[in-house]
């Protein structure tokens, strides 16, 4: 009997440990959200969102972070569009209709998986080397290119999974009507997988907008809005990093506000993803 009691004790003990671990982890997450929200809200004002920093703002902290907000959106939208142009064809190529089960596709998948793990600072360093080689300075286009590398593997992976969920019977029906592979892909597969594809794009966008290491040297930093692809551009993550290093409380407050705006943007994108996916999937064939 003693043996059995001991085993039951162990069961209770382990369950307790697990609940403690989960509480600790999710508690930290909630603390993080609360701290960033409270700190950010204190520094928040309408002017913060719609004004550019005034000259010498690193000392006094006047003006807002509009340069970083606009810059982040430009960078992330540009990189997402560029990544989309490459990710969709690659994801289609990975389907059984094209390269699917060949060694080539296996290799490509492995490669993309490895790219997915490469730290974004490495992409940033490579992007910077490219800019130096071309004789350019840090600019919007450089940031977009570096960020595209960060987003591409995330997007292809999610798209591949979405495309694979399309029932085989649907494709076979299309082929039996003498549609070509391309027509089948365009009119059947992509439409059926649309919610998943949109999710993939937004997922990559969310990752891209939060990434600092890749745009740190490739996009540069400025107090102004860019006028062309070849102007340097600020971004929210880099703004958080720079402004937080300032010894002035006023400037640090801007950093907290920027972090809060970034967090809200990322949360909005993830909520939007769920809503959009649910709405789009109303028109699917099941």
């Amino acid at each position: 009997m003693g043996e059995l009691t001991w085993r039951h004790c162990k069961e209770a003990l382990m369950q307790g440990t697990m609940v403690t671990a989960a509480t600790l982890l999710f508690g930290s997450l909630l603390t993080l959200l609360a701290v960033v929200t409270v700190k950010g809200w204190q520094g928040m004002s309408w002017a913060m969102l719609v004004r550019l920093p005034k000259s010498g703002s690193y000392l006094g902290g006047e003006g807002g972070i509009l340069n970083a907000i606009v810059g982040s959106l430009l960078l992330a939208v540009g990189a997402t569009l560029l990544a989309l142009c490459l990710a969709l064809p690659v994801a289609l190529l990975l389907q059984p209709d094209y390269a699917g089960r060949t060694k080539f596709a296996q290799f490509l998948r492995l490669l993309l998986n490895l790219l997915w793990g490469v730290p974004s600072i490495v992409y940033g360093a490579c992007g910077f080397a490219l800019l130096v080689a071309l004789g350019w300075r840090a600019c919007l286009l450089g940031g977009i290119i570096a960020l595209t590398f960060v987003e591409l593997p995330i997007m292809v992976r999610a798209m591949d999974e979405a495309l694979r969920m399309v029932p085989k019977a649907m494709k076979e029906a299309a082929y039996s009507l003498a549609l070509t592979r391309w027509e089948t892909m365009r009119h059947v597969v992509v439409r059926q997988a649309l919610p998943g594809l949109v999710t993939a794009v937004l997922l990559a966008f969310g990752r891209g907008i939060g990434d600092a290491a890749s745009v740190l040297f490739t996009a540069g930093y400025t107090d102004n809005l860019p006028r062309s692809l070849f102007d340097p551009v600020a971004s929210l993550p880099v703004a958080v990093f720079f402004l937080l290093n300032s010894p002035f409380a006023e400037v640090q407050r801007q950093a907290y506000a920027a972090a809060f705006v970034l967090l809200v943007l990322v949360l909005l994108v993830s909520v939007l993803t769920r809503l959009l996916a649910a709405r789009l999937s109303r028109y699917l064939v099941r």
Binding site: R7, M18, L110, V122, E161, E183, V240
Partner: protein, 308 residues
């Protein structure tokens, strides 16, 4: 008819071209890193670069040992914290939690994975660094005789431990998500058979489920390690960035990614500096690649990796 066929051919050609483009870009990336790092490799053998403890770019002395040590200290601290926490949480989510609890917590894991690293950094600066600073001061005054624990410099809180805690929070969702998936793919019949023999739930998990899921869990940990090793901004913000060998978890460190991030702006004026930083990026790239490759091969053997 003819135009449809041509359309088909063109589309196929474009798809294949995009596939080769990805391979070409990856090759170019690696080559660029390697070529830009070559000048410093020509001047000094890799072994002496990796073991050198001096870092004085102005004098042309480049020793990577403090940065490698910093990276290892921070990453291993993070893994020591993240692995038990994440595995216990994943087992709880996969084996114990009621469906409703699971449905509430699972999106939180995704949310945690999606939070930008600078936001983790801000949290670290605001909460973790001051907390670690207090602990470090306590240790310094009361436990200063304990080796490997007592800080060798005046403690500020910006330390290996602070970086480790922040990193642990960041890599936990990766480990949890993969472990959870692996655990749920263990056949239910295995659990039923074990429970029918009179095992408790924990015994079932420990002796049957975890054993069946072991390779998957190993690769989850490897992927978490790779993520932690390359993470830049959050660590950079809390780890102190002092280029010396850390002696305790309360000492500041200077990991490789932070080295690259901090010095890229000013490197152009000093000869070989850019090659040294490119070598740092290359080291990072190769380490992460090898660890990830191992994880992918394990997952592929299991037949449930993405590379399946």
């Amino acid at each position: 008819m003819a135009s449809r066929l041509w359309q088909e051919r063109l589309a196929t050609a474009l798809l294949w071209a995009s596939g080769f483009l990805v391979i070409g870009l990856t090759g170019a990336l690696f080559t660029a890193l390697f070529v830009r790092a070559l000048p410093i490799l020509h001047r000094q053998p890799l072994s002496s670069l990796l073991t050198g403890e001096q870092w004085q770019p102005a004098k042309g002395i480049f020793g990577f040992a403090p940065f490698l040590a910093g990276s290892l200290w921070v990453t291993l601290t993070a893994m020591a914290l993240a692995v038990p926490l994440s595995l216990l949480t994943a087992i709880y989510l996969a084996e114990y939690a009621r469906p409703q609890v699971r449905l509430t917590l699972k999106p939180l894991v995704d949310l945690m994975a999606g939070i930008p690293s600078v936001v983790y950094g801000v949290f670290g600066v605001l909460v973790i660094v001051p907390a670690v600073g207090k602990i470090a001061t306590f240790v310094k005054t009361h436990l200063s005789s304990v080796p490997l624990l007592s800080p060798s410099m005046p403690p500020t809180g910006y330390s290996v431990l602070a970086g480790g805690i922040v990193l642990a929070l960041m890599v936990s969702p990766t480990i949890i998500a993969i472990t959870d998936e692996v655990l749920r793919s263990v056949p239910m019949s295995l659990r039923e058979a074990t429970l029918a023999l009179g095992a408790t739930r924990w015994e079932t998990v420990r002796f049957v489920v975890l054993r069946a899921a072991r390779p998957g869990i190993v690769s989850a940990i490897l992927l978490g390690f790779a993520r932690a090793f390359g993470e830049t901004m959050a660590v950079l913000m809390v780890v102190g960035n002092v280029p010396s060998m850390p002696q305790s978890p309360f000492d500041p460190a200077y990991p490789l990614p932070a080295l690259i991030a901090n010095n890229y702006g000013e490197m152009m004026s000093i000869p070989l500096y850019d090659a040294a930083l490119m070598l740092a990026a290359l080291l990072l790239f190769v380490t992460v690649l090898v660890v990830n490759l191992a994880a992918q091969l394990i997952l592929r053997r299991l037949g449930r990796g993405w590379a399946n």
